[in-house]
Symmetry: C2
Subunit: 191 residues, 2 copies
């Protein structure tokens, strides 16, 4: 158990308890091709409304052309730290199917798939930090995406690095205690 | 490994591989009070945009007043099978904060929290089946919900039962092979 371990009032599995979102990634670690296959399989087998599977991914390892394109779309401090991740994954919600029918649970189900990805990542010794601060239209343009595919988040994934390598403002955030609302305030009714 | 185990091209952890969504729940199994605490803790520690935690839950064990109210809102076949679950959880997205500011990742983040709940449920020997077929306004009215809280899904959770106890049409679905799109069709770009 590390100081980053989730503090829970009942035990949860290690891949959940040890999951957290660092900004320090190890620039010396390169992800081999295929290293993310288990993480993507985990996402692939997430549940979704009527098994519509409204999730798509752009998988860009550091050093590749897609990685650079994604970094260009990042906003503010995200560009400082996410550039060290082993890969950046653009998480896309399929908001209508190929026939134009709305998939109203697309973002919700995408969230489930990305959660599966992150849980599997933790189990394999990786860390994931999702970010929402990026230029959606920039991503659309860079990858010529259909309108029905909405870039919702970007997952930075890789081996964790040292907080000491972060700029001071980010280092403080990295080391601050992890917090959550009380369980009691999340559960509105219980019987 | 059961016939329901996810078929993956790279290994994933048991709590992901063995997760699936049955309709047969064991009516003879009652969830003791507190049985869902680990599942809710798992949800509580999910990641969210700027740690906004835009998820709220109504937790209703079978036999209680809230359970009956939720069953009343279920549509079609859902009422037939979900009534046997040990509990029904209404998963609510907090779409604006208390100050009225939009939380645009609310549904996405709720999906992550419910995924965590389901993964922990699998680890504890439970099964979860989420459903979207319910009367949202009925849920709002039954629990006098603020407008900013959107009922997105309902999780049926409990001990799995026998497919033989399901009506024929549901029994066929229960035993049908589990399918997913190929990984290659989910990953639009990879480099």
């Amino acid at each position: 158990m590390s100081p980053r371990t989730a503090q829970t009032s009942a035990p949860v599995i290690e891949s959940l308890a040890e999951r957290w979102s660092p900004r320090a990634f190890d620039l010396s670690h390169e992800l081999p091709e295929g290293a993310l296959r288990g993480l993507l399989e985990a996402a692939r087998w997430a549940p979704s409304a009527n098994n519509t599977q409204p999730w798509r991914f752009i998988v860009a390892r550091r050093g590749g052309e897609s990685f650079a394109r994604i970094v260009d779309t990042l906003v503010g401090f995200n560009q400082v730290w996410a550039v060290n991740a082993g890969a950046l994954i653009v998480n896309l919600a399929e908001t209508t199917d190929a026939g134009g029918n709305a998939l109203p649970w697309a973002e919700y189900d995408l969230g489930q798939a990305v959660a599966h990805f992150s849980v599997q990542a933790t189990a394999e010794g990786f860390h994931v930090h999702q970010l929402g601060g990026f230029d959606r239209d920039g991503v659309r343009a860079a990858f010529d995406l259909e309108d029905r595919l909405v870039p919702v988040s970007i997952s930075a994934v890789g081996k964790i690095g040292s907080a000491d390598d972060l700029p001071e403002v980010l280092r403080e955030r990295e080391l601050a205690p992890r917090t959550r609302l009380d369980l009691e305030s999340l559960v509105l009714v219980r019987d």
